[in-house]
């Protein structure tokens, strides 16, 4: 009975604690990223001046760029820059990292968003159907299909997609063109293959976790009770079970969506898609440290943000957690 009173009161401290914890993790992540990037061989000053520069010139530039200062100082400077939205200068392109990213980020968000719009409902339908039809051939078929899809290498999915849809059928282009001038339908057509490939990659995991979350509840006494009230299995799953596993399901969705940001590397590469992930691959191969760090921070922030949202949904959906 006291739960009713304390329920609402303790919600905000819990939310605050989770936000704080996510912020702390992000801080730690920034340290890790900074530290690993510091391991990269080569020197930005050397890189910028080229092989012909004299040691004196390099030293001077190093001093100018602040590279001769101890790591903690450089870290602090980098972090405060990041917080203020200044990620530094790209060593290769010679322009602000922020500008390069600003050009790519919308593309990545568009790709991730469109994939999510397709994949999330599909995964929910697959997962819920499998759970409701537990033990039947439909369940087994979905299980087999999703198990296989989870383990498929992305380049197989993408190359087979290209072979079928662009080479054989010639329906869709094999290169994704994204430009501001292109019409919506053109953009959609040229991004169809990347979107389809990514959907195949993420939908299975979401569907499996949805089914597992529901199936985990199906043996609970309250499910039996609801059935004995005369409710059909679909009514029980939709009306009784889903509210109880909203937390795990949203968590699975968030996990898969975060994959669409940083995990799209291979798909982006195959289709020449101008997204953040392929930008990052370029940064790795050209050892462009500031760009690399900024990209990594974006991916990690996206992950943490999605996880935080999932946590909040779980908190709000479960009256017990809320009143803990």
């Amino acid at each position: 009975m006291s739960g009713a009173k304390t329920g609402k009161a303790s919600l905000w401290p819990m939310v605050a604690r989770r936000v704080g914890s996510a912020a702390l993790t992000l801080l730690l992540v920034s340290m890790v990223i900074f530290a690993i990037a510091g391991l990269l061989p080569g020197d930005a000053a050397q890189e910028a001046l080229g092989q012909s520069a004299t040691p004196e010139q390099v030293a001077a530039l190093r001093h100018e760029m602040g590279l001769d200062q101890p790591a903690p100082v450089r870290y602090a400077r980098w972090l405060s820059g990041m917080v203020q939205g200044d990620a530094g200068q790209s060593l290769v392109a010679g322009m602000p990292v922020g500008a390069i990213i600003a050009e790519r980020l919308p593309n990545t968000l568009m790709l991730a968003g469109m994939t999510a719009v397709l994949a999330v409902p599909l995964a929910l339908i697959m997962g819920i159907t499998a759970a409701i039809r537990r033990g039947t051939w439909i369940d087994r078929a979905i299980n087999l299909a999703s198990l296989s899809m989870v383990a498929l290498p992305e380049f197989l999915v993408a190359t087979v997609g290209v072979l079928i849809f662009s080479v054989k059928l010639m329906w869709l282009p094999s290169i994704a063109m994204v430009s501001a001038e292109a019409s919506w339908s053109d953009t959609l057509r040229s991004c169809a293959l990347p979107i389809l490939s990514l959907t195949v990659v993420v939908v299975a995991q979401m569907a499996r976790m949805t089914r597992a979350a529901i199936a985990d509840q199906l043996d609970r006494p309250y499910v039996e009770m609801a059935r004995l009230k005369g409710a059909s299995l679909s009514r029980v799953v939709l009306g009784h079970v889903l509210p109880n596993c909203l937390g795990p399901i949203v968590n699975a969705m968030a996990l898969s969506l975060s994959y669409l940001m940083g995990g799209a590397i291979i798909v982006e590469t195959i289709f020449n898609f101008p997204g953040l992930a392929s930008l990052m691959v370029n940064a790795v191969t050209s050892r462009d440290m500031p760009l690399l760090q900024a990209c990594a921070m974006i991916f990690c922030s996206a992950y943490l943000l999605l996880m935080l949202v999932a946590d909040m949904v779980a908190l709000l959906a479960n009256p017990r957690l809320r009143a803990q």
Partner: protein
Amino acid sequence: MSAPHIEVSGLTVAVGDVPIVSDISFAVQRGEVLALIGESGSGKSTTALALMGWCRHGGRIASGTIRVGGMVIEGKSEEELSAIRGRHIAYIAQSAAAAFNPSRRIMAQVIEPAIIHRIMTRQEAEAKAVDLFRALALPSPETIGDRYPHQVSGGQLQRLMAAMALITDPELVILDEPTTALDVTTQVEVLKCFKAALAHCNHGRGATAIYVSHDLAVVAQMADRIAVLLKGRLVEEGPAEQVLTAPRDAYTQVLVNAPHPVPAAPAGDDAAPVLSVRGLTAGYGRVIDGMPQIPVLRDVAFDLPAGGALGIIGESGSGKSTLARVIAGLLPAAQGEVLLNGSALPPRLEDRSLDQFRTVQLVFQNADTALNPAHSVRRILARPLQHYHGLTGAAADRRVAELLDLTRLPAEVIDRPVTKLSGGQKQRVNLARALAAEPKVLLCDEVTSALDTVVGAAILSLIEDLRRDLGLATVFISHDIHAVSALCEKVLVLYGGTPVELATRAAFNGSRHHPYTSLLKSSLPTMDPRWLDTTRAPILRGFRVEGLCPFQPRCAEAVPGLCDAVPAPLREGDGMRWLCHHSPSIKEQA
């Protein structure tokens, strides 16, 4: 006589080809209550659920016929059965806490049967639910439906489930051990409500009911007829009175004349205490100023002489297990001390010596979780032998065999994994492991609560023999008042973590008690069918006030102006020490 309302004949429920219950036949007249009794695994719930066409764990109705009213149940499709379930036949489950959906409001769940079967509008159903809440004596009937299940108590939830079952005025109600998960004091009140509600169902004509239980005394209060199940077969069926007073079947006779523990011989009372507890305060969470965040035990004290037996009773959550954990060192106390042979035991495990570990052994409540499922019996028993006594090889083998013998386990279980033992055997291994240490003090935490009566009684008599033969001092934690009062020389009664009474066996079996102990004792059902009607429903007024007598909100003997104003004093006399304004001694009473 009219045609029976329910007629079951030759019912067999099977999983694959293995029958769980076979060849069950009985008939119930309209408005009668039939009780199904038997020990766990005897097929009570299976039989009851088959009446709704429902089989658990992939079972199916293999043969037989079931008629409820005019309806044929067997062979119906899921859709046809759904139309009957919750409409004509309603179910009340064992644990309401698990049977309510934790994330939906109570009202939505209570009226769901009416909504599913489209017999009322939402408004009508809610109005009817509130009426039912009122009839079931639930507090604030208008608003209790707006709460979530975790916001009401277990007893209330069980009554709310009754409302859920009765909302469609079903012609048959199935109650599956509806009070087993409750404390005895709560059970009285829930039983009273159920009885009244069943009688008023169907516009006063009364519902037909199937009442599943393992407790004959409870059944005596509720049933018109009794059917006794043993290993999936019906061994006896007849009018309640005949089954209770003149059972025909041998198994029923055992049940009715349930083995009451034989009172144990007292140990020398003047022996020096081997275990003493002084001013113990403990709980969970961080300790601030000697008070844990969630205090459970407050100011507990007792002495246990060598070879003596102390019983600890109290409702669920009163801190019995916590006390055992504190003594065993699993939970450091916040205040007070535990003395072993007069010297203080370090509160934390890390600071105790091997010998101190050895001397105090804890037998856990639930043998299923207390034994590592990855190990064999031999490994479980050999480990403490090696750990405490350095025994290995043949010497250890010999000792393991002795221990099996001591706990009356057959020698061939030795290499079996513990998962392949029966409940009673597991509990014996659990006990043997503690004995392997050769302890001086044995802490037994509800060692029989997971066992059937007959098996439990055997374990109790085993512990009693061991205590006598090995001179073990035993702390006996239980909610079984009969067992405790027979086996223990002293009884400590905990209420909400506070020791309210410490009595010798003679005093405890006498007639004067602390008000809480009286309530506990009067809440124990008896075989007398009139017991329920003559027992007072427990009261509850206000909330516990810190500093005052903890039992005050529920006390029937509270003195107005005194108990709600002045802390209860600790008083002694006539073999009792208790926390109450009333005096234990009869002389002082005047």
